[in-house]
Symmetry: C2
Subunit: 628 residues, 2 copies
Amino acid sequence: MRASELATLRFTGGYWLQLETINREQTIPANFRQCTASGRFAAWNFDYRRGQPNGPHIFWDSDIAKYLEAGACSLAKFPDPELERTIDELIDRLVRAQAPDGYFNSYFQQIRPLDRWSNLRGDHELYCAGHLFEAAVAYFYATGKRKFLDAMCRYADLLVRSFGPGPEQCKGYPGHEELELALVKLAAATGCRDYLELARFFVDQRGTEPNYFQLEAGGKPSPVEVFNDLAYFQAHRPVREQSEATGHAVRAVYLYTAMADLARETGDQELTAACHRLWRSITREKMYVTGGIGSTHFGEAFAAPFDLPNEEAYAETCAAIGLIFFAWRMFLLEKKGEYLDVLERALYNAAAAGTSVEGTRFFYVNPLACQPGATLANGRHPEPRPDWFGCSCCPPNVARLRASVGQYFYELDDNRLWINLYNDSRWESSWRDRPLTIEQRTAYPWQGRIELLLHDWPEELTLSLRIPGYARSYRLLRNGGELPHALVDGFAVASAPCRAGDRLTLELEFEPQLLVADPRVRQDCGRVAVARGPLLYCLEEEDNGPGLNTLTLDPESPLQLREAPGLPAGTVMIEGQGFREPPFEPDAPLYRPWRPETPAGAVLRFVPYALWGNRRFGEMLLWVRLRG
Amino acid sequence: MRASELATLRFTGGYWLQLETINREQTIPANFRQCTASGRFAAWNFDYRRGQPNGPHIFWDSDIAKYLEAGACSLAKFPDPELERTIDELIDRLVRAQAPDGYFNSYFQQIRPLDRWSNLRGDHELYCAGHLFEAAVAYFYATGKRKFLDAMCRYADLLVRSFGPGPEQCKGYPGHEELELALVKLAAATGCRDYLELARFFVDQRGTEPNYFQLEAGGKPSPVEVFNDLAYFQAHRPVREQSEATGHAVRAVYLYTAMADLARETGDQELTAACHRLWRSITREKMYVTGGIGSTHFGEAFAAPFDLPNEEAYAETCAAIGLIFFAWRMFLLEKKGEYLDVLERALYNAAAAGTSVEGTRFFYVNPLACQPGATLANGRHPEPRPDWFGCSCCPPNVARLRASVGQYFYELDDNRLWINLYNDSRWESSWRDRPLTIEQRTAYPWQGRIELLLHDWPEELTLSLRIPGYARSYRLLRNGGELPHALVDGFAVASAPCRAGDRLTLELEFEPQLLVADPRVRQDCGRVAVARGPLLYCLEEEDNGPGLNTLTLDPESPLQLREAPGLPAGTVMIEGQGFREPPFEPDAPLYRPWRPETPAGAVLRFVPYALWGNRRFGEMLLWVRLRG
């Protein structure tokens, strides 16, 4: 659905009502508290004097913007005068401080007023602008108020005048992509094609010769080592010629999102082909089974194909969120379920694991194995989720994702409705000015049965229900009988008209599954991942004792469902049978000759990966060894 | 044997003659070329002017010193007028530049003349002194010339005056330990107890309160992050109270070596107990099966117990060399074979892998698995051995180790000869002024049969032959009949007198073995290491194709010996039977449901780990998966 229509979908229970409530009651207020305590909001007072503590930072505006966007999306569904006053007050500060020509940046205006756009590569200036534009659009959709939107249009108009192919215009583009996708949103909200054209300029200009970032740096190497690699910025060649997902993963997927946006808006086949190649590069070669991407700590970046370390995984929360954006745009470009399979995988796993169950603590990186005490690539040791980070992109990104997740549930086009995701919910929309009301009743993602009540349904509309790629089988009934349909690109497309009052029942095969990785992922050879529905599972020390890598799973043994202890009510635990290698004798040497041994039988207890690290912090392991 | 007696042992063939020759003809000259090309030797001209390229560096003196020591050890056995002239000329430069009070440091004297001993923690000043003392002792032993030794005694006398418990003396100690063990050597060479006392002061002062390094830093944090952790320097508590090997691994084992020296020299039981605890910490919890130590890149340091990553292993060559030193001193302290088992393990594996077969290229770090293209903890990718390093401690350390390895073969005490290591060789020594001549004939380490010809043998001397810990059985014959003996602490101690002319034959069980690691080493669970005699083996892509982690070894299948292709003549390859997981179908997704499959049979070809990376650079894997 359109981002402007968030209010049309109400979660009425289950998984997303729970997360939406935690997000509104805990995560968004936690972001407010942290933005206050860290000085981020104070930076918008524009009274910073050199030497004072808490000087504005180059990416602070983006954190505030994401907080504003999260708040706006929440307001769209849940009126909250206090939150709205808070946001209005921040908007007032912004508008007061905005330069006469439309420019706004709390860092550059206060700290380095003469340096505007002087270091596009490293200074996040256009990135902050993009997040502000996204927030302004969301606030306009939520409230109808134009003040923020108009202010950001003035800023965008300045960018339109300042950047472009003209002889007087700057030929640069964002060092951290984000503005491109934001301009597409701004164009959609305002109808102004100039913003779309500027997005296209940024995308097409990127990586062309002479390279803008190299010109800008004047041949001087950056002290930030990764900055010296153009591929870190996806600026090593024109984007249309790129085939491998490279560099900083968040930057990359934000760029690819805009590329897919532009391909859809313009019908550009060359850009579409590049999107396909990059999608394939990520999902066939560089994505964790959780939907996490950007496997290496070094540069928060994509590594070589199939190089997916588990304990050392970076898999930044924001990168998983960016992959959701990219997947959604690929789906809008081409209505195939495979894109939503990835979206759902990232949404329920990699992007979900970043936030604690109470919604106020966050992981920045999301490894697939954890050994407390181990030395990580940065020299530190694994730790529980902290409250906040110095570079705190992830917490507000989670907040805006969760406040806007409803937008991915349905998509309408001229003659078809795509039902993409499942949760207890009621959607009140319209099609050709006729009411369209659908109620979902389900315990998804804990159960695979979904009831769809078509309260209002225009008969000419074709119904398409997503059949997730993980479901090895399914049944689709209407009012108790089979619904005639064809399975096309991951969707059950009804081949008979539906009618208002119809009750559809989708039963997805929902048995626990064992997944294996392409053997080129050397880290996962001889191991399996346990999954059920969209959820990946993992072992935790809390349920299995220490030494998780001494456990092996018998792949032929039945997997049983249990209630998970110490996790939110309704959380399903999976129990499997396997073995545990015995410890060495006390005082044995570190290495000794192999001898055949009969390992002891063991019960392996798996909990959803998204919920790991919420009890006593200990070992965690997703890819478990298989008993050969 | 004493380090002064290197010339008494001649390798007459086999493994060590080959390495000794390569070392003399290739490695030592390569160090000379690199020290010349990098400006290290030029720094001893003492004509550096600020602004010129190739300014002296804080650790350059140590590289030159290790080159001098390697050259000296080589001269002890192989006269070489040109090499001796080169060394004499360098000594002349040193003596010319030495300060009137005895101080010498090419960096501080030229670059920061006012900063002497101002940053003991970080600046390697006492470390360089230690290496120079070692070199001076070795050159004195090799040539009898005193110029270098006397100069270094003047320097040591300055240190004796300057450091110590007295009211006017500095209470500091080396930031990079090394001087302590060097002072023990200098004391042995000169008979001067003051040097031993200074070593004891440094060792005992270390880590006491108030902490010298903290006082020196004046509370200011170091920009080198690891420097802010006193455990990095083993200075977090007094050494006598330490139980866990911590921090920078080379620093640690150089310190522990001196501790064991002092425990032996002084009979200090408390120090002996600390050495035992630290030895145990390393060998029971923190040592790779190769003898490599210091598993984490971060700080080149020991990680937590049992945290021994394979691909990300640091295992610096110098740290393995330092472990050899520590093991040797532990053996001198207490004549047990277990110390020599570790010495031999490190000598033939971790310390050996650092040098290419032709002797001119070097690894600084020694991982136990290699995947070209993978991103390592430092953001770089695995690469073949380069010629040299900016911080080039390892190449000259290898050179001095290989030039002096003979010292570890035999040890005499009042009534017993310990025969520790095996190689084709002739040893001409004496005991109580009576000749003692032993010839070894063996193809060790490729074969386990050793013949010992006791050409001259005083009958009162008790013979002890080391039975390596890896040998599950052995036979020991004299002139064709059983030699009566007792197996005590890893040595076959003859219980009947031997006589001149006796021919002893030791046959060590030498079948290939599979080793397993303590299951607390999570990285090695379900895997085995293949070993034969003292050598660890590994898989290389060259012999097995890519995807080494898709291979599993059948532990019950016989292991066959073969000639290794493309490696030095005589290198034994081991062939085992196992399986290879099939690749996914082309165009398959990255993850798919597990299904039972019959993997294809495969031959696994193992080559000595010490020789990996000498052919086409590709994948390498030591811990191979076991077919369960």
